[in-house]
């Protein structure tokens, strides 16, 4: 088998193609929402310009076209192609509200904060969750298992933004343990970005509440899934064989049970990434943490459609890329995926 055939048949390649097609479809859907829905942003904007600034229809239309980087007189399909072309060049139009600022620049200032806070939270929550999950699976039925399982069930059933409000009320207002108002935003004003202790500690201080919220609201799910998955794995033949061979308990727990029990959780990991990135719109709203989720809320509130469209696209693309990476990792951990050919 030569290398081109190998490439086309490889898991990574097929998975990459699917991710790419998904991006194309999302971009297409967004285009049609913006361009074709009744009361779509372009029509609204043209109407606004005409009524507020007394422009003629043609002037307003030209202004709208410039803002969205679209030629509104061209046939729809060629508009669609232009839109795609602009997108791949990184041109998402300009903001209504912050006049003239490029949407791409706005996104570049918001996205890192969301990736940072959500990324750290996923890592923390996943690690804590699988560790505690294995532990209570081994002590199933015991007091520790009952306590941790019950707390986990309660945590999974609290919507993350409500958990955020509860944390604000309890820690910030009732017990007054944390200075809520100075923790808003992503960094304190006047602090220069750089590899300094001052900057890094400030970044973590501002991200602390969102991260705590994400971790608390997802860790219960991981604990319970890992517990269930470990219990299933414990009954497998290879574990019995390992025990019969007299392998040390520690080795069985981590290399035989743990490694195999984690695998089914990876499908949930991709779902979780999407859920957390999506939920950032609510969590960042609660803590006034200025990432893409907050930007989505504020752009919808201000009817800043080019920004809204760009932010929605970037959240979706971030989720697709993250899912792609999680799947690659899964393929590496579970050789059956790569060899099997089916997904």
């Amino acid at each position: 088998m030569n290398w081109t055939v190998k490439l086309f048949k490889s898991y990574i390649f097929r998975r990459a193609i699917r991710a790419f097609i998904t991006v194309l479809i999302v971009v297409t859907i967004t285009f049609f929402i913006v361009r074709l829905m009744p009361g779509n942003p372009i029509e609204i904007y043209i109407g606004q310009l005409m009524s507020q600034y007394g422009m003629t229809f043609q002037e307003a239309k030209n202004a709208a076209a410039a803002l969205f980087s679209l030629d509104l007189d061209a046939p729809l399909f060629s508009q669609y192609l232009d839109y795609m072309k602009n997108l791949f060049r990184g041109d998402l139009g300009r903001s209504f509200v912050s006049q003239g600022v490029k949407v791409v620049e706005l996104i570049a200032s918001y996205l890192p904060w969301t990736l940072f806070s959500v990324g750290i939270s996923i890592l923390l929550s996943f690690t804590i969750g699988i560790t505690l999950g294995i532990v209570i699976a081994y002590k199933r039925g015991g007091l520790l298992d009952q306590i941790i399982s019950s707390i986990s069930t309660v945590l999974t059933s609290i919507p993350n933004y409500l958990l955020g409000i509860i944390l604000l009320i309890l820690l910030g207002v009732q017990l007054q343990l944390i200075p809520v108002s100075s923790m808003r935003g992503t960094v304190s004003p006047g602090i220069k970005a750089g590899f300094t202790w001052e900057f890094i500690s400030d970044v973590f201080k501002h991200a602390a509440l969102p991260i705590l919220t994400y971790v608390l609201s997802t860790v219960g799910g991981w604990i319970l899934s890992m517990r269930g998955s470990t219990l299933n794995t414990l009954g497998e033949d290879f574990v019995t064989v390992a025990k019969a061979r007299g392998l040390p308990e520690r080795r069985i727990t981590f290399t035989y049970v743990g490694r195999n029990a984690i695998l089914p959780l990876f499908t949930s990991l991709t779902m979780q990434i999407g859920f957390m990135m999506g939920g950032s719109a609510l969590v960042e709203f609660i803590f006034v943490y200025k990432g893409v989720g907050w930007a989505l809320w504020s752009s919808i509130g201000q009817r800043d459609y080019p920004v809204m469209q760009g932010v929605f696209l970037i959240i979706t693309i971030a989720v697709i890329v993250a899912n792609f990476l999680a799947d690659l990792l899964y393929g590496k951990l579970d050789p059956r995926i790569k060899a099997g050919g089916t997904e």
Binding site: R18, I21, T22, I25, V26, I33, M37, G39, N40, R140, G141, S150, T153, V154, T156, S157, I158, P159, Y161, L162, I165, I166, L168, I169, V173, Q174, G228, L231, N232, L234, G235, M271, G274, F275, M277, G278, G279, A281, L282, F285, G293, L296, W297, I300, G301, R303, M308, V311, F312, I315, T316, V319, I320, N323
Partner: protein
Amino acid sequence: MKKFKNFLWAVFVQPLILIAQNKIGLAGFIVLLVIIFMSFVGPYIIPLDTKVKLDKIYQPPSWEHILGTDSEGKDVFSQIVHGGKAVLTVAFLAALFSTMIAVTLGITSGFVGGRTDNIIMFITEVVLTIPQFPLLAVLAAFIRLSNPTLLAFILGAVSWPALTRAIRSQALSLRERDFIEAAKILDLGALHIIFSEILPNMMSYITISFVMAMTGAIYSQVGLILLGLVPLSGQNWGIMIQLAWTRGAIFFKDSLSYILSPILAIVLFQWSAVSFTRSLEGIFNPRLRVRR
């Protein structure tokens, strides 16, 4: 008639008997019933307090107002009683829509197979990847979701993919079972196989998924309301939270019971739904049951 009786037994009575054997599941089930009763019958018993009493703002819980009063001095408890119906109805309808779509697509995909399966699964995967809440928020910017049924429909229309995938895999595993093979050999027809053989065998699973879909719908619905993207009015736990939030009630020490009450109502519903379905899962999945 006998068949119908058997069906009712398998779907409703048997699970209840099994539920009673699991303490947490039973607790969840009872709380669920209490919340539903309070929300749908309660409003006829407890009148809504609409009088503004400026001398009684943000009162802590007392015998007169067991959950305290809000920013206008109105009784919070009566608002909790009246605010559940709207939230639960939208969640119920949304779960109904998404379960119907999921069951139809999932069973078609699993049983027809081949190209149809590939197409349905591809669409499902794509929709599944789009983050649900931002999509809803963007749609809410264009569609005025002032009508609860429309809101429920939109919520249902974006939340079917995960369930579809799960139902398809159930359908795939059922397809290989002996009794389905037998029905096929007897040539009982696709409709008979689907409605008399497959659906009853999936009913427990569908019930679980339906309740979980309701919790998902509550998450998105209350989230949209909190962000101010749904122009709903009237008594509603979500609107209570949003009002408390926009009025800055969380920054008053005395308003604790006012803002926590609707939050706890929602959390309690979510918790009871999750515990109830977890124990159902344990009952229906013998693998989990043996190793309890």
